[in-house]
Symmetry: C2
Subunit: 220 residues, 2 copies
DNA sequence: GTCGTCATGGCACCAAGCTGCCATCCGTTG
DNA sequence: CAACGGATGGCAGCTTGGTGCCATGACGAC
């Protein structure tokens, strides 16, 4: 049995001061998961500005990035800088960074007002590998930014979700409309509206997009 | 800045001996991510046998569980024991356990023959929360076992994936068949076969299922 | 060679889905 | 009250999808 340490830093300023060089030293891989653009303040975001040849940078966001101030701008800048970006319907609640499979930075939840947020840096190989593996798994099921931009996750109201559930259940329009207690015509109108909202040209595409939006549990 | 430790154990026997009681002490939540059933040997799996009232147990596997020996049996046993199970198309490459939001166990990759595998136990709150958040994100996009059992991810050959891509692209059957260089009749036949393989009753359902199987990148 | 099997493609027909048009029934506004 | 916008439902007609039937051609087994 061996023991190795975790370094916990208090506040972003300390993070930048003490880990900035570390983050900036990424050579092969830089993975970052966050809910929105505000996650790492400008100070943190500004480290790692210079492009590094051979460095693969991947950022994972929630659908909220676009809603927050500065989100679209940030994404545009990142996309230009050869950063791979994907959107996950369920954003990670805590931010995480993994660099070169060597270390991981994990952010604590936003703390009470005034209290500085803490950031923990791990170097232990099993832990870094474990965090990285989870990141990869989420990455695999997330949507590429370009795809997302073509048709961002729309906000669906309850009626629209009901239609979606009917479709997911595999009913014909006939039975689905009866189950929902509306006419066939209305049901079809709603399906059409839904497909427009999803930016889908076929019901198959609508199915694809629906799964992205709802996660895998449209019946929930 | 503070430092807190990680405990690394060598081999499952040491894990069971030293962390068995810890794992067994789960009171509220027990999360486990693994590629297949062989992940934790019988010794590890046997701890935590007694049902604990109020304890929520969630297990996340890859599609490989069913292929490995003992997989279906294990799942059947777990399902009976009120364990929530979901299947992710991209299984986590490293196993992870999070207990009561208090600590996480992360397994190293399978080591060379003879070498005991190592397991690292973390208690630092930020790290545990970070690992847990990533688990949750994967969980959200994974498929419930019951759903999966109704139609497990089939193995698709290249022709079938080509059809799938066409559908995902939103082409009509007419254009899709031309693009694939086959007749309309043949294309439709293939779509029908695909839907059967996917266990889908409508193209919408096929879309849902397709996304589950391919992750979110059918075009790749 | 002759089978049998299998994937293909053409044809036809039916079922399902899509949508334009119009009438109706709200609830709101003036 | 009338006027309006918005959601609804019925109808009709067109497009798309789904499938049974049969003919053809490729391939391997016999």
């Amino acid at each position: 049995m061996t023991t190795r340490g975790i370094v916990t830093l208090r506040g972003e300023s300390e993070l930048v001061r003490r880990a900035g060089a570390l983050l900036d030293g990424a050579r092969r891989e830089f993975l970052c998961a966050a809910g929105g653009p505000e996650t790492w303040s400008a100070a943190v975001r500004n480290i790692r500005r210079r492009p590094v040849p051979g460095l693969s940078v991947r950022k994972l966001y929630g659908p909220g990035v676009f809603d927050e101030a500065g989100g679209p701008e940030l994404l545009a800048r990142l996309a230009e800088a050869d950063v791979e970006i994907r959107i996950s319907p369920a954003p990670p609640a805590h931010e995480a960074i993994v660099v070169d499979r060597r270390f991981a930075v994990l952010a604590a939840p936003r703390s009470a007002a005034g209290e500085p947020r803490t950031y923990s840096i791990v170097q232990q190989p099993d832990v870094v590998a474990g965090v990285r593996a989870l990141f990869e798994t989420v990455w695999e099921t997330a949507t590429d930014l370009a795809t997302y931009c073509r048709a961002p996750f729309p906000h669906l109201d309850e009626a629209e979700r009901a239609v979606l559930r009917s479709l997911a259940a595999g009913h014909t329009d006939e039975t689905a409309s009866r189950l929902l207690g509306v006419s066939l015509r209305t049901y079809r109108r709603r399906v059409a509206a839904l497909m427009t909202a999803l930016g889908a040209r076929s019901r198959f595409q609508a199915g694809l997009r629906a799964r992205e939006i709802l996660g895998r549990h449209p019946d929930a």
